[in-house]
Amino acid sequence: MTISFLLLAAITIAGTAAAMSLRNLVHCVLALTLGLVGLAALYLQLGAQFVGFTQILVYVGAVAILAVFAIMMTRSAEPTEPHGSSSFQLSGALIAGIVFAVLAWAVSSGTKALQVQTLQPEASVNQIGVALMHGFVLPLEVIGLLLTAALIGAGVLAMDETRGAR
Amino acid sequence: MITFPWITTLTMVPVVGAIVLLALGGRNKVLVRWIALAFSLVALILTLVLWHKFNTVADGFQFQELHTWIPSLNAEYRVGIDGLGLLMLLLTSIVVPIGMLASWQIQQRVPLYFSLVLLLQSCLFGTFTALNFFHWFIFWELSLIPAFFLIKLWGGSKSAKAAMQFLIYTMVGSIAMLMSFLAIYLATKTFDFTELAHLAQSGQLMPAVVGKLGWHLFTPEHTAMVIFLGAFLGFAVKVPLIPFHTWLPSAYSEAPTGTTILLTGAMSKMGLYGFLRILLPLFGVQMQQVLTPLLWLAVATVILSAYAALAQTDLKRIFAYSSINHLGYCMLGIFAVVKFTGGDTALTAQKFAAMNGVFLQMFNHGLTAATMFWFVAMLEKRTGGLRGLNDFGGLRKVVPVFTGLMGIVLFSSLGLPGLNGFIGEFLIFKGALPLVTWATALSAIGLLITAIFILGILQRVFYGPLGEKWVHLPDLTIGERLTLVPAIGLMFALGLYPQLILGVVNHTAIQMALNLRNF
């Protein structure tokens, strides 16, 4: 419960909350980026350097840009979204709240039994590489395949269905 | 000792060629053709190198390569050649360029066509060099695939049906053969030809199989016979023997002529090769038991196919039946060699003659039939696909050179002395007559009928008054003449000096005849 943790947690929560509540979609994405950078910083704080940088690379460098592109191409940047019925909003928020309550309850009741490791563990790139190439080689391959498939699939989906019609 | 893997290299050259062609794509058809031809010529050169390096008096197989492959199945990659294998390699490498030249004018899917041809060549090489049933069988079956597509995709109007018939027929035979070999494998745990032959020669093979698989309702002889018949069916369909031959005329006539050349020149030899390499060493006893029916089959093949050829009007069908007829002589020779002679030295010498004759006839038939179909291809090219006997007449007037050269080839097929066909037939008859007199004497009728239908072709196509349609038929071009010269020259060379081939295969023939178990 260090100050840095609280600070970063505050940034993260602020960013994500803003992302979920702002009206302008571009702002949402920018806020989300802030939240995700905060999250990456949290990872760094937890000692997972590689994951942290990967988080930045993937989310800031790719997903956010992708989302921005999607927003631009669907012309939904203008805050024209008419808020749906308040009951809809309310029920959603309520459910989310209940979920949080339940999870918080679970966390508070579940972590007591856990033996907590306080030593800073090591997760150098070397170790990660070794682990990826030995213990996790099959998942790695599967992920590679998945990414390829996703790449092709996304390309095909984003292509115009009637080629050359326009 | 590590030596250069000649045979593997030879087998891979066409595969590489096929890949190159496919990679090249169809933009430049001329280039594709030349490259394909170049690869087949490389294979020919390699074969000639092998021919040169081959030790003609050594026992057993040469240029052997042995690698373990699937240890749990005892399947090894074992290749090697003796005189017979070498002869077949040479034939294949000669026939494939002929086939390519004959399909030079193919316009559709050129790279695919030529790469399939090269693949087929590779499969043939594999079949003729494999010494382990397992991968021999793989090549044997694999060769069907290019052949099937070659017939189906580039063939005539009924090619799909013919290709299917061809495939199913040979597949049924192959499956029967596979069953037999699985039975043998279950009993002996080996797929190796030489080991199996060794077992068979010492009389242990069939008892082992019967001991393993015998069924109480079957006598051991019957069990062995059933296994033999399975293997026999596989080869008999491929050769083909009457009555397993009906796929052949339709396949030959529907296939594009270049493919027919491959089918008749090289692929039909696979069946005979199987008879010589597998059935003779392994099932000699069983063949002796059913020798009489086998001989009748051979005689029926010779005579009926000759008569059937007489009734055809399509040049390709005639030549197809003529092919069956010629291979029937080979079958006669093989069956004669099987006959039990009790070690009589004079008769053993006859077996040598028959064996040599069979080898020579295989090669000669390949060469002659391939060239014959080549001429059909050139005729088709000139006439836009017409090849019926009744479509022509008097062509000699406009295409004298074509007529002359094709006449040479036709007479070679007829067995005229001085050309290659004669000596093989002579040796077969010479060896077979003392061994199986009546069958041989009856088969001689085939020689007569062959003469009748071949002269019929000459008469109806080239002689008589010239049809109005063909006044402007072009004669052979210089290029065609030049490409024909090697083939026809080889015919003359073999007719005048058969020692060229006999000198190489003789030792193998002697060994094969001697290795037959006589008891």
Partner: protein, 103 residues
């Protein structure tokens, strides 16, 4: 309160925020972003458990996080392109108006 439960609570909160966004917003892109957020919350959980768990040398948590980031990236790509395709067809990104399966 142990450091770990702080992270876990944060993760739970992130998850809930993401869920709330996904449930309340009408825009498909935002729903997708919400889902991404939920995934990130899970990642945080993984890292936290790895960090404070009994077997940090096994790196399982880190691995899981890496893989899940990859999956999330793929999911985002495909999801957004689907949204693009749908938009091209129905000219809207509003989920309420995208309830017809007819093409």
């Amino acid at each position: 309160m142990s450091p770990m439960s702080g992270y876990l609570l944060l993760s739970a909160l992130l998850f809930s925020i993401g869920l709330a966004g996904a449930l309340t917003r009408r825009n498909a892109i935002l729903v997708l972003i919400g889902i991404e957020l939920m995934l990130n919350a899970a990642n945080l959980n993984f890292i936290a458990f790895w960090r404070y768990g009994p077997n940090p040398e096994a790196l399982t948590g880190v691995m899981f996080a890496i893989f899940s980031i990859s999956v999330a990236a793929a999911e985002a790509a495909v999801g957004l392109s689907i949204i693009l395709a749908v938009y091209r067809h129905s000219k809207t990104t509003n989920l309420d108006k995208m309830n017809s399966m007819k093409g």
